[in-house]
């Protein structure tokens, strides 16, 4: 098949799935993260451990869960625990290797806004809020961010810091007492951004097939730095695409 057949959502899911190493403990939210994690578990990472914030440790859903509290998660989990334990004993204690985040706004230091567009007291758009994100961003060994890239979402400065990436730059995570390494990769519909180890600023390091650097620049709200020669993401293999589409087909509703 040609790359034309691949949607940007599929490209993101496949790229995110590839970032998950087998055996890792992964804190998963509904939507793209859940799709990517379950794709990984069915392809290169059969021993990936999925924790859903609803309290299911080691869930092995045979279809994509429709909600964070889908019954299939409890039925297939190694253990079902209460919410306080999820956040205190497992996430806060540093037992989770990888966390997934998305959001409405992202800035160059990978800080995320899922709270409000506009001012807090006079919201232009009221978003759902924090959920588990602030502590996922703080305590997971590393964080993967998956979101669509546009001038509205990749902004110079987020309207509200719901979850901290690198704050205002180097040293901020340490100063704030955040124990995880923070974001290691931002996977968008256009390519891949990674933080510069020295400056913590997001740098374009990968392009999805058919995407040009100027396309990404045009969809980024700050002067985007670009790596010497950004890698082009390998297109999805037939296996990846087949498994992914089977998975998505198990969703009867958005």
């Amino acid at each position: 098949m040609t790359i034309a057949d691949v949607t940007s959502d599929e490209m993101m899911a496949v790229t995110a799935a590839r970032s998950l190493r087998d055996g890792a403990v992964c804190f998963v939210g509904i939507g793209k993260p859940s799709t990517a994690a379950n794709l990984a578990r069915r392809t290169h990472a059969p021993n990936l451990v999925l924790i859903y914030e609803s309290g299911t440790l080691g869930a092995k859903p045979d279809r994509l869960p429709l909600s964070i509290g889908d019954g299939v998660l409890a039925e297939t989990a190694d253990a079902v625990i209460g919410i306080p334990e999820v956040f205190n004993y497992w996430l806060q204690a540093g037992r989770v290797d990888v966390g997934f985040l998305g959001g409405a706004q992202l800035d160059r230091y990978a800080n995320i806004n899922t709270t409000v567009i506009g001012s807090y007291d006079h919201a232009k758009v009221r978003l759902p809020g924090a959920g588990g994100a602030p502590e996922i961003a703080a305590s997971c060994g590393e964080v993967l961010i998956v979101m669509n890239q546009s001038l509205r979402s990749f902004v110079e400065r987020v309207d509200f810091v719901t979850s901290v990436g690198f704050g205002r730059g180097p040293g901020d995570r340490e100063r704030l007492g955040l124990r995880g390494r923070g974001p290691v990769k931002v996977i968008s519909d256009l390519g891949v951004l990674e933080p510069d180890p020295r400056t913590c600023e997001l740098v374009l390091t990968g392009l999805h097939p058919g995407v040009r650097v100027e396309d990404v620049r045009a969809a980024t709200g700050w002067p985007l730095r670009v790596a010497p020669d950004p890698a082009v993401t390998d297109p999805p293999t037939d296996t990846e695409l087949t498994v992914l589409r089977e998975l998505v087909a198990t969703l009867e509703s958005p």
Binding site: I83, P84, A130, G132, P134, V161
Partner: protein
């Protein structure tokens, strides 16, 4: 006890009320009874307000919302919640928001008889500046600064469970969420159940609440719809999708509310 009686007795105007449930076992029927009884000025508490809180907010029951994530899971926005915050319709809605970890620990503190709880959280976020219930405390052993959240003071918690026995002991299983803590955090607790049985037979993964920790039990089969009760019903995902259109428009919502809730008899 009939649901209408239980709500009349345990929920009063101005109360702080938590209807908890984490996708599973959401006490929707009880929320609609609160709407029918036209309660006002409630402070609604829940980690994940969804359709039932959207209905209550749209119906004008709420003065304030204390929460950590407000959306229609897998679908999108809660339009009544947004309309109340963005446009003060039908009334202004004050919000106090937290992260899930913070809310969970606020329930735990209250359930434990403590004035606050500790966590590693909020550091560096703008949430801190927005909520008086987030402060910090210094570890007397290491000197580390940690987040402190105040205990939730709840008048009445309402949850839905699968079973109660004739003595009022309650059993729930599957995803049990924060419900035990929510019940123990409140001065009064109402549990709606799918079924009242002669004797509870132990189920793996079950949480049991002894009768003396629960104020009232009401048998309300299907009381969690459109959410589900593990072992009794499936989640009605189509309903969550259809809610988006119903709730998006004030007139359509008002018409729906009159027909489906206010017009409908008591469970």
């Amino acid at each position: 006890m009939p649901l209408s009686e239980a709500v009349a007795e345990l929920v009063h105007d101005g109360d702080t009320v938590a209807l908890e449930g984490f996708t599973h076992l959401i006490p929707v029927a009880a929320g609609r009874e609160i709407i029918r009884q036209r309660r006002r000025d409630l402070t609604l508490v829940r980690m994940t307000p969804d359709i039932v809180y959207d209905e209550m907010i749209g119906a004008g029951c709420a003065r304030k919302l204390i929460f950590s994530w407000g959306g229609n899971p897998g679908v999108g926005s809660l339009h009544r919640f947004r309309d109340a915050i963005e446009n003060a319709w039908p009334a202004p809605l004050e919000v106090e928001e937290h992260s899930h970890a913070g809310m969970a620990n606020r329930y735990v503190a209250a359930a434990s008889g403590l004035p606050f709880a500790l966590l590693r959280g909020y550091s560096g976020t703008d949430l801190v500046g927005q909520s008086p219930s987030i402060r910090s405390v210094t570890c007397p052993f290491t000197g580390e600064r940690l987040a402190a959240v105040s205990a939730l003071a709840i008048d009445t918690t309402i949850i839905h469970a699968q079973q109660a026995d004739r003595d009022g002991n309650v059993q729930m299983w599957g995803i049990v969420g924060i419900q035990k803590e929510a019940v123990l955090a409140a001065r009064r607790a109402l549990v709606t159940v799918e079924e009242v049985v002669d004797e509870l037979s132990p189920v793996p993964g079950a949480v049991v609440l002894p009768s003396w920790a629960v104020t009232a039990v009401a048998e309300v089969p299907g009381g969690a719809h459109p959410s589900y009760a593990h072992g009794y019903s499936e989640r009605d995902n189509g309903y969550y999708v259809s809610w988006d259109a119903i709730s998006r428009d004030r007139e359509r919502f008002t018409e729906w509310l009159g027909r489906e809730v206010l017009g409908a008899g008591t469970s």
